[in-house]
């Protein structure tokens, strides 16, 4: 059976060159970078090199602006809480978009319980926010604006340059979560006017267990993990040396190969979306059309009348790895907050599938996925009472309304109006 990995947003394989570069740092160069002897100094040098490689990927000026964390979530926690605590005297107001990653959303919620307030900027139906809304939301108490570059769910690209300019004018630090873009699209801290940027090498063929936070020296930041004075006192704890070294090499290669990788996935993305929509009826693309406002790796779709977990499980049994924002897939039984924020009907959010492409995927992979997916959708629709009720005119389609029957939501409310568990 063919095996197709279409979940590069979750993680990517480590490149052989990256793995080779990491190896000596497990067995030979095992010193602690804080030690003052040969063993320590050797790895300290290696970290410095990795910082330069990371800075180069995002057009940062110096390695001193790069802090290593354990992953993207920790970077987001440090950026949000670290800036908020550092500026507590100045003000306690934050501005974020409604579609940030949970690591940002939940860090902000944590602060709200401690007396901070936050304005969440809504996005349009394609998932993009208006920069002017950010400007309007800022007050003299605002200490941080956080907007991601590319959305982790629907691949929408935010107007970060424009937002950065407005933040610069207002003198408010701007944090850009680049977890879903770095290594695939150009990230330029200067063009973005970003005071903070985070990204993770495991999203571009580096290892897991290392996250990167860029911080412009002008932005005040305090540590949220307390201990020694590693990472300029901004992140205590012994660095993950092999991971950092590997991450640095992955960043260097990503920078070098960015144009060809991105061109490759752009081509596959077009083929995938046109294949899917030609083979499957009642299918909706969530987020912008492939093009300048959508990351080239991402396809996020809703298949009407069926649920996402069943699609994901069936695809997995066909050797195809994907993700889903359906409530049945999440441990909280809630649909993805991104899908809710773009105003997607619950029925469509339930049928959600996310496919994210990588450099090693091929046209044959895409064609196989289209074919298998069409077969799976047909099988699940045959099992779905909603499909049958749609065909009998009891309920209507959200994607292509026929004018017959009630909406799915009305119908669902009616049938779950019974005393529920």
């Amino acid at each position: 059976m063919r095996s197709v990995y279409f979940d590069h947003q979750s993680s990517t394989p480590v490149l052989p060159e990256v793995f080779e570069a990491m190896k000596p740092y497990f067995t030979e160069a095992y010193g602690n970078p804080s030690s003052l002897h040969q063993h320590g100094l050797r790895v300290r040098e290696a970290l410095k090199r990795a910082r330069q490689q990371m800075a180069a990927l995002i057009n940062g000026d110096s390695e001193e602006e790069i802090f290593f964390t354990s992953d993207g979530t920790e970077s987001a926690n440090l950026a949000i809480k670290g800036v908020a605590y550092a500026n507590e005297r100045k003000g306690k107001h934050l501005v974020i978009s409604a579609t940030e990653h949970p690591s940002v959303m939940n860090s902000v919620e944590f602060l709200e319980k401690q007396g901070w307030t936050c304005t969440r900027i809504p996005v349009n139906a394609e998932g993009i926010l208006q920069p002017e809304e950010v400007q309007k939301a800022m007050t003299p108490q605002t200490v941080l604006v956080a907007v991601h570059h590319v959305n982790h769910d629907i691949g929408a690209i935010q107007p970060v340059k424009e937002i950065g300019r407005l933040c610069g004018e207002a003198g408010v630090p701007f944090y850009v979560d680049c977890e879903s873009s770095a290594g695939w699209l150009p990230v330029d801290v200067k063009q973005f006017g970003a005071a903070l940027v985070s990204f993770s090498p495991h999203r571009f063929y580096g290892p897991k267990g290392v996250g990167v936070l860029y911080r412009n020296k002008r932005a005040r930041l305090v540590s949220i993990i307390h201990g020694g004075v590693q990472e300029g006192g901004r992140r205590a704890g012994t660095e993950n040396v092999p991971g950092i070294v590997g991450g640095g090499v992955a960043a260097e290669i990503a920078l070098r190969e960015m144009a060809s990788r991105s061109e490759h996935v752009t081509r596959l993305q077009k083929r995938l979306w046109s294949g899917l929509k030609s083979k499957i009826t009642f299918l909706k693309l969530n987020g912008p059309e492939p093009g300048p406002y959508r990351a080239p790796q991402n396809i996020n779709i809703s298949t009407e009348f069926i649920e996402g977990e069943g699609q994901l499980l069936s695809l997995d049994l066909s050797g195809i790895a994907v993700a889903s924002g359906s409530s049945c897939v999440s441990k909280s039984l809630k649909i993805s907050h991104v899908l809710a924020a773009i105003g997607l009907d619950h029925a469509l959010a339930q049928g959600n599938i996310i496919m994210t492409l990588g450099k090693d995927n091929t046209e044959e992979d895409v064609d196989y996925v289209v074919e298998e997916f069409a077969r799976i959708v047909a099988r699940l629709r045959a099992m779905s009472p909603m499909w049958d009720e749609f065909e009998r005119g009891v309920i209507d389609s959200v994607i292509a309304p026929t004018g017959r029957g009630t909406s799915f939501s009305e119908h669902a409310a009616k049938v779950s109006g019974k005393p529920a568990h």
Binding site: E307, G310, L313, S327, M383, P385, V415, K418
Partner: protein, 142 residues
């Protein structure tokens, strides 16, 4: 395939991939369609009942893998039972027969119990003479 990992156990996966009793019954004697408050999924069970016994049961499910497996198993289990017996059917039977479900997926089996009971209520509404003392409370609660 020993190196295949699954989210659910083999019994659940089997009922998901090869569901039993999937479909509708023409001229069903009772039809129940319910939605899960937790996740928004929908399940429908149709029954053919003769002489107070469930002769045939079919399901259609808009829901996750464990909801599909639960409805498949529930319809298997209740075929041949009397209406009275079926009225005391519980989701735990489905969970046990499936060899267990992850904690977050227990509500999917509850959906199967509710769909079955809704179908029985529908049947009893059409046949009030059969609503015995034992099951009256169920009917009144509906």
């Amino acid at each position: 395939m020993s190196d295949t990992y699954t989210l659910y156990n083999n019994t659940v996966m089997d009922h998901f991939m090869n569901p039993r009793n999937m479909g509708d019954i023409k001229d069903a004697d009772g039809i129940g369609e319910v939605g899960a408050a937790a996740c928004g999924d929908i399940m429908k069970i149709s029954l053919k009942i003769r002489d107070g016994k469930i002769e045939d049961a079919r399901f259609k499910t808009f829901g996750c893998g464990s909801a599909i497996a639960s409805s498949s198993m529930a319809t298997e289990l209740i075929k041949g039972r009397t209406v009275d017996e079926a009225l005391s059917f519980s989701n735990q039977e489905v969970v046990d027969a499936l060899g267990g479900l992850p904690p977050v997926k227990i509500h999917c089996s509850v959906l199967a119990e509710e769909a079955l009971k809704a179908a029985l209520e529908d049947y009893l509404k059409k046949h009030p003479e059969l609503a015995t003392q034992a099951c009256k409370s169920e009917v009144v609660a509906a």
